[in-house]
Subunit: 454 residues, 2 copies
């Protein structure tokens, strides 16, 4: 007899957890739809040729590969084994892999269906992805991504819209966030003017420590990374940026005056601030030059969202990438997108106790089962309740009252109905409110209005 | 440059297809919930030890196996290759597989979480499954199952409830169906009284041909399968069952008088007919002794649903299985369940043109983009519309009018709003109904009520 388990880093979701997760997906989905995004779905499996080489060497290793079915050993030689070259052999016996994110499958989708798509194409996609990462707290091998992207439009109005969406989603969740904004072109501009194009990451990491360790130590760190004194000198006005966001923009424009790319970046980010100013967002939008996520692919805006009341990493991120589809043979398509991290949002909602109390994942009403005669009487009554939208169930067995009540209890069913000889004679139902303990005889119609107003 | 494709037997779903599929899932889900079922989700990957040996030898071959990550060749010897024993080697390099159905993962879930579950446990689950079947029309390697099961209750009220659910779901879809019912115990009883316990399948196949080829030919076929003349003799009253369902039950009871198992089967099915008679179902429930699906695991009721107006296989099926969880170390748990075939239901709805016209998968309203000034004016207006639940979008680029209109057209957006100099001055919006071509100046409030009533 085997004792069953599930693969490391994967999870089962109980009815309560599933309902909470659905609440997250539903909220995000409805906001996406309010902004005109359309849902697509792609297969869990993609050809390895689609996935390989898109996530860096490390990413390739984290792909879950699927064994070719049938006589997969046909292509493999004994030398493949004695050589012990896993990577090489893996390619001979596997042609498919589980998707690693939703972005590459989306790019593949856009290229494959380009003749059916009207651009700009606004799509959202909420599906699981798989990564053979070492499992740890808050990191899973199967998790959901909730992406929205617009492809085929260079307009910065798209960035504005995605920020509105972020603001709206977190307002609906009741999670206070800071929406951090940067622009890859500003970072490129900075690297350009100090002549250290390949040191962008070191520079942003150092700037990030400014609050904690002060200017002097930051400068020491920059020097230790091999950045010249002259470059560090030029960097000072950026380290010392101060005042309102608008004032920072002016300072940046001065510093970046000689870099057309840098100036373009400032102009782009300024446009976004201008437009969101018209919209009285509920969460604060901040310029954050230390934001350097996705430097390999983002080419314009970089967006990151942090929860203000919980210590946790980024809970949403995104940015603009040019040439998403170039690798699949469709160059010149620019895109911008965001991705909500459903698992982290789940943790935040749980920690702050923000899941709405009235989200229902259970029956409204349990009928106690006293026997065949009562069951026969109740079946049509329940049919009537259900056509009025009341979720009800009859305990299937004639079990002890205590057992039936405890079933209602552990399933958080708010109402229990008791119908015995007397009630049948009088055409009534004894309705018990499980929270208050109150019970009273009512009609079907009264149940409908009682529970609807509950 | 690679030309992208997707694995054989898998599918991309466009926004329209996704919306239609969501309509199917949503309908089934809401009915499940009306009857008190609770949703769970399980991981796409299961340990192969959980999956292997549960679906017969053929099923094992159809499992998609996932390559162990890292140095998977560690356990494999050069002989494994030279021997060419694929099956043996596969087990050394793979420990996980994609789930093949939702029933085995559910059994695994019940056993793993038995201490947290209050029985009877009514769960539903709507997730994809994967099978390395040869792809063909209507058969895919990735497809969704929509299952509901009750475990931990022997009550036949569960069967009644599942039949109600089937009736309700197909009524909501507008698909006329025949719900066919059989009972494994009746089939066992028949085999028992004719002394041919191992010939159940041959007998049901032969009975199935009765209408087409007549009694005489059926008897010939039975004889050709090695069934004795004496047995064929005893089978005649069953072949000749006639009259109403109730009359058939009486005839069956006579024939099966010497088989307690067979009589129990008739009693069970009669109970279900009695109870559903109280419920004036919209679809016909019929006794069908030729129904022999899942003979390997069903132990009581066998249910199958056929569409009346489309030639297609079974679109929903189910039954009762005892001892679902026995293999994982939890004996004595009886269950009964059904599974809606979403892909076939999709085909039926499409063929009969039954997808509701007003299911929305797109924006209500597109604002034409005339330039920066207009965009700035529209952003807060659209915010107002969205808080009233109107799905709207601004075309992100200042493209030619014709291009913007054709975007609305191909995305089936029913309304287009035009706001230029004049409209801004007058605080109006020119609203165009894309179907009638009618256009008129309106206020934001008028748009809200117009579109809500649309």
């Amino acid at each position: 007899m085997q004792k069953p388990s599930i693969p490391k880093g994967t999870r089962d979701f109980s009815p309560e957890e599933t309902a909470k997760r659905n609440y997250i997906f539903y909220t995000i989905k409805e906001v996406y739809r309010l902004y005109g995004f359309r849902q697509i779905e792609t297969p869990a499996m993609e050809n390895l040729s689609t996935l390989m080489g898109k996530y860096g060497e490390e990413g390739d290793k984290l792909l879950f590969k699927i064994l070719n079915s049938g006589h997969f050993l046909g292509d493999m030689s004994a030398e493949d084994i004695t050589e012990g070259n896993s990577a090489k052999t893996a390619n001979k016996i596997s042609e498919k892999g589980l998707r690693y994110d939703l972005t590459v499958p989306f790019a593949r989708y856009v290229v494959m269906h380009r003749n059916d798509i009207t651009f700009p194409f606004k799509r959202y996609q909420i599906q699981p992805v798989w990564r053979a990462d070492r499992p740890q707290k808050g990191r899973y091998r199967e998790f959901f991504q909730c992406d929205a992207d617009i492809v085929g439009s260079d307009s910065l109005l798209n960035e504005v819209e995605l920020i509105q969406i972020i603001d709206e989603v977190f307002s609906q969740f009741g999670i206070r966030v800071s929406v951090k904004l940067n622009n890859r072109k500003i970072l490129s501009g900075i690297a350009e003017i100090i002549g250290e194009a390949d040191k962008i990451t070191d520079i942003t990491v150092a700037i990030d420590k400014l609050d904690k360790i002060g200017t002097e130590k930051v400068n020491e760190e920059l020097a230790s990374k091999g950045i010249t004194q002259e470059a560090i000198e030029k960097l000072q006005p950026i380290l010392l940026l101060s005042g309102t966001t608008r004032e920072k923009f002016s300072q940046l424009k001065e510093v970046l005056a000689s870099s057309p790319t840098g100036l373009k970046g400032v102009e782009e980010i300024e446009y976004i601030f201008d437009k969101t100013d018209l919209l009285s967002l509920k969460n604060e939008l901040t310029l954050d030059l230390t934001l350097a996520r996705g430097l390999n692919y983002y080419t314009g805006a970089i967006i990151e969202v942090k929860a203000l009341d919980v210590e946790i990493g980024s809970i949403t991120g995104g940015g603009r990438y040019d040439n998403l589809t170039g690798i699949f043979g469709l160059p010149g398509v620019s895109g911008v997108g965001i991705s909500f991290g459903a698992d982290r949002i789940y943790d935040v909602l749980n920690q702050l106790d923000l899941f709405p109390e009235n989200f229902t994942y259970t029956t409204d009403l349990l009928f106690v089962n006293f026997g065949e005669k009562e069951a026969a009487y109740l079946l049509p009554a329940m049919q009537q309740l259900r056509s009025a939208g009341i979720r009800c169930e009859l305990y299937p067995d004639t079990a002890k009252m205590k057992k039936q009540m405890s079933y209602a209890d552990s399933n958080h069913i708010p109402f229990v109905a008791i119908v015995g000889e007397n009630e049948m004679k009088e055409g009534k139902i004894m309705l018990k409110n499980m929270e208050t303990g109150e019970q009273k005889p009512v009609t079907i119609q009264e149940i409908i209005s009682d529970i609807k107003n509950y």
